[in-house]
């Protein structure tokens, strides 16, 4: 993890995970009447049918996750967001398996009912056992403690300098 690339990848994942959670939790999920009607499968355009098929294939399930059905009221927008989500969660510098663990930690920390349940299920589907789940839970809980202690005492960062600096250029760019 010494290079910057996995950290950029993680940051984008955190952002898009939060974006999905905001829509799912804010507009309502299975337990409450949604504030915006989720788009069903009936009468969908070929564009939307194709989008739903791609989502089902990626998650290997028939159920379309709540935020995508909500966003699908604007199929073009939903397709663009999905492209970003699929890219962010695919294997690259970080594995998809680990990315689901990160998304679970983000969702748990931000108290997202949708995200916590969804990414926990994805972790398990991708082969993470109960020990692995407990490991992520433990790190999330411990650092939810450290961060609040640090904030209460207004501690200033004092460890940033111990990490090496990555001098490589941006992807496709050239080194200065």
């Amino acid at each position: 993890m010494a290079a910057d690339a996995p950290w950029y990848e993680a940051a984008l994942l955190v952002g898009i995970t939060n974006a999905l959670n905001v829509v799912a939790d804010g507009l309502g999920t299975a337990d409450s009447k949604p504030l915006l009607n989720p788009r069903g499968d009936e009468g969908t355009s070929s564009e939307l049918a194709s989008l739903f098929a791609d989502i089902r294939a990626f998650y290997a399930c028939q159920e379309i996750p709540a935020p995508f059905r909500l966003m699908a009221n604007d199929p073009g927008y939903a397709a663009d967001v999905w492209e970003a989500v699929k890219h962010a969660f695919s294997d690259h510098h970080l594995s998809r398996r680990f990315k689901e663990a990160l998304a679970f930690a983000v969702s748990l920390t931000s108290r997202s009912t949708f995200g916590t349940a969804f990414h926990l299920a994805e972790m398990r589907r991708l082969g993470i056992g109960e020990r692995g789940v407990m490991e992520v839970l433990g790190v999330t809980q411990m650092f939810s403690s450290y961060t609040k202690i640090a904030d209460t005492l207004q501690l200033e960062p004092d460890m940033g300098h111990i990490a090496p600096v990555d001098r490589t250029p941006a992807p496709g760019g050239r080194a200065l």
């Binding site: 433990g138 790190v139 411990m142 650092f143």
Partner: protein, 84 residues
């Protein structure tokens, strides 16, 4: 600026010095002063010791590597908007 005066390592009792040595080993870095959080935790060993042990259990390698767990810790800190 911190709301408390962070004591120099030398102001702590000898039992805490051992905790500071463990901190150096954990981070594999020769600090001039132990990190602020280590000094906070050493203030009350009755809390800091079990909290530190729980942290080490959680951060040790298992299904995920220590490096992966450091990344999980970073994103949790980010979501909590903690700059420390």
């Amino acid at each position: 600026m911190p709301t408390v005066r962070l004591r120099d390592a030398a102001e702590y009792p000898s039992a805490a010095q051992r905790l500071f040595e463990l901190s150096k080993t954990w981070f594999n870095y020769e600090f001039e002063q132990p990190p602020a959080m280590s000094r906070v935790m050493a203030w009350d060993p009755g809390f800091g010791s079990p909290h530190g042990r729980a942290m080490k259990r959680a951060m040790g390698p298992g299904e995920f590597t220590r490096a992966e767990k450091e990344m999980v810790a970073t994103v949790v800190s980010g979501v909590n908007a903690c700059s420390y």
